[in-house]
Amino acid sequence: MREEINTNEVEAKAAPNPTIVKWNDFWRKFLKNKSAVIGGIVILILILIAIIGPYFTPFDPNVQDHAIKLTGPSSEHWFGTDHHGRDIFSRIIHGMSITLYVGFFAVLIGMTCGVTLGVISGYYGGKIDTIIMRIMDIMLAFPGIILALAIVSVLGTDLNNVIIAVGIFSIPVFARIVRGSTLAVRKLEYIDAIRALGASDLRIIFKHILPNVLSPIIVQATLSIATSILSASGLSFLGMGAQPPTPEWGAMLSDGRNYMWDAPHVATIPGLAIVIVVLAFNIFGDGLRDAFDPKMKN
């Protein structure tokens, strides 16, 4: 007995979706990159700590006890106490959510504006492109922290203003990357075909260009989170960001500076915390970039 097999249907079912294939490929390459996987796991743990950590801290981060000020790490106060006798461990845990919040939202602002400007610039070209990109060049010419300082001094000292400032100075990086990718995608023949069908610019941009420029955006966003956290901490360190008694790491670092000789842990522990977070995002971002890069096939 021979069974009639409809080969067409078998093929149709077995047909892999190229998007899924691409993701499988991406995962395979990403998992090969050990440091990136570690970075990713660290980021997940940090996010978890930021969410549930504050419920489990042994001390209130803002309660002062001058009797025990500037004591070193002990079994009771794991990371020691600061100049007001506050528990540094609790403050670090509470500061985690602030740090991540600053990082994510600053990048969200930078990414949204940068991607929009980059797509407009790359898609329409001509004068609009020149104007947008020259403005981006001007912004890039300023050292980031100076630009952010200027913005914060105009808007006023506040953590949210720091986010805005840090977000604004990450706009040019996104705009440049997205413009470049858009230029490449726009030249593809199928974009012309869709245009010839009478598709609106919005449809072309959202349905056909953005999905194609997504991977560089994701990579840049991850790397930008690291720089944003660093800049925001820097601003807080300079006294332009979070105000006391907020347990912001940059501000804690700044406080600890005065006691560097007597109680170095007050400054070093927030410093180390910043290093860990920034490093985790950086190596994760690098791993993403390698995994997304089609030239890195192995």
């Binding site: 067409n8 199928y190 012309d192 609106s200």
Partner: protein, 338 residues
């Protein structure tokens, strides 16, 4: 005679060359430089020429995929270049294009169904409920099974992909289809299939084709009329038999002499005109007749005076060529220098 569907008048497409410190325009690539022709309803007009002669640019300019520098494109009595962007988007329903590269001209992330559905949605050709029926019909018309609709482009061969491209162009019920080297990237056997498909569709849907190609064999097979372009200008235009059997312009003669004849004896006897040198740069085209730098018949006059398209009595109606010496060459009184 059928009515005029497309009338192109003095179409020019100059691409600026930016340079210098301030990115000013320092010169232009004169890709298409004053091209005029008409296409009647239901006919197939081919544009032939070497690569870089502006044939594809002409097609793109008609569709406003690149905004032309100047000229008029009248389609069905309406000037396309004066339409606003929004009006033009609506109008695109009537003019479609099929591209050369079937691998690049469809989005690899979409299934055939999604590709066709998008086309139908954009122009809102049929109500939503009838779309999947229309998709099945379209696939059937171009010779693909409706069961293949949920596949991705990479699962098809080059010829099948080109059929998808044709289905997409057909989906909006166009009047004019510009086939920009539509079969050049395909194998010869597949070329024949696709050309026959195009001919069949033309009969069924009363389509008009503007067929852009460098392949004279294909052009001879499919065209009613032929336009020969050289360096952004039309050098000869006329109906197919007249152009192929009685070419007037020295360039057309050279071009046609390159077609091999399948019979070895006449092939050996055939006089081949081999042109000297390369196509000059369209940035700074030669003065006078643009072909004079390579023309075996060129004289001093050709360097100075630009010839216009003209007809002689012995030529078939509608056949004209842009050369100062068509009568003399025809009569044999003006001979080639080499």
């Amino acid at each position: 005679m059928a009515k005029e569907l497309l009338k192109v008048t003095d179409l020019k497409q100059y691409f600026p060359i930016k340079g210098g410190m301030l990115g000013r325009t320092i010169n232009h690539v004169k890709a298409v430089d004053g091209v005029s022709f008409t296409v009647h309803e239901g006919e197939t007009v081919s544009i032939v020429g070497e690569s870089g002669c502006g044939k594809s640019t002409t097609g793109r300019a008609i569709l406003r995929l690149d905004e032309p520098t100047s000229g008029e494109v009248e389609f069905d009595g309406e000037d396309l270049l004066s339409l606003s962007k929004r009006e033009m988007r609506k109008k695109r329903k009537d003019l479609q294009i099929i591209f050369q590269d079937p691998y690049a001209s469809i989005n690899p992330r979409q299934t055939v169904r999604q590709i066709l559905e998008e086309a139908l949605t954009i122009q809102n050709v049929v109500p939503k409920e009838e779309r999947s029926k229309k998709i099945a019909e379209l696939m059937d018309v171009v010779g693909l099974g409706a069961h293949q609709a949920d596949r991705f482009p990479h699962e098809f061969s080059g010829g099948q992909r080109q059929r998808i491209g044709i289905a997409r162009a057909l989906s909006v019920d166009p009047k004019l289809i510009i086939a920009d080297e539509a079969v050049s990237a395909l194998d010869v056997s597949i070329q024949a299939q696709v050309i026959n498909l195009l001919k069949k569709l033309q009969r069924e849907f009363n389509l008009t084709y503007l067929f852009i190609s460098h392949d004279l064999g294909v052009v001879r097979h499919i065209s009613d009329r032929v336009i020969v372009m050289y360096l952004g200008k039309i050098v000869e235009i006329g109906d197919k038999t007249s152009i192929f059997e009685n070419p007037q312009h020295p360039y057309t003669k050279a071009l046609l002499s390159a077609i091999p004849v399948p019979d070895p004896e006449p092939e050996a006897k055939k006089e081949r005109i081999i042109l000297q040198g390369d196509v000059p740069s369209p940035i700074d085209p030669p003065s006078g007749c643009r072909f004079h730098t390579r023309c075996p018949f060129a004289t001093e006059k050709c360097k100075l005076v630009e010839p216009t398209l003209r007809s002689e009595d012995y030529m078939k109606e509608g056949h004209s060529a842009a050369c100062h010496y068509i009568e003399e060459i025809e009569a044999g009184t003006h001979t080639a220098k080499y």
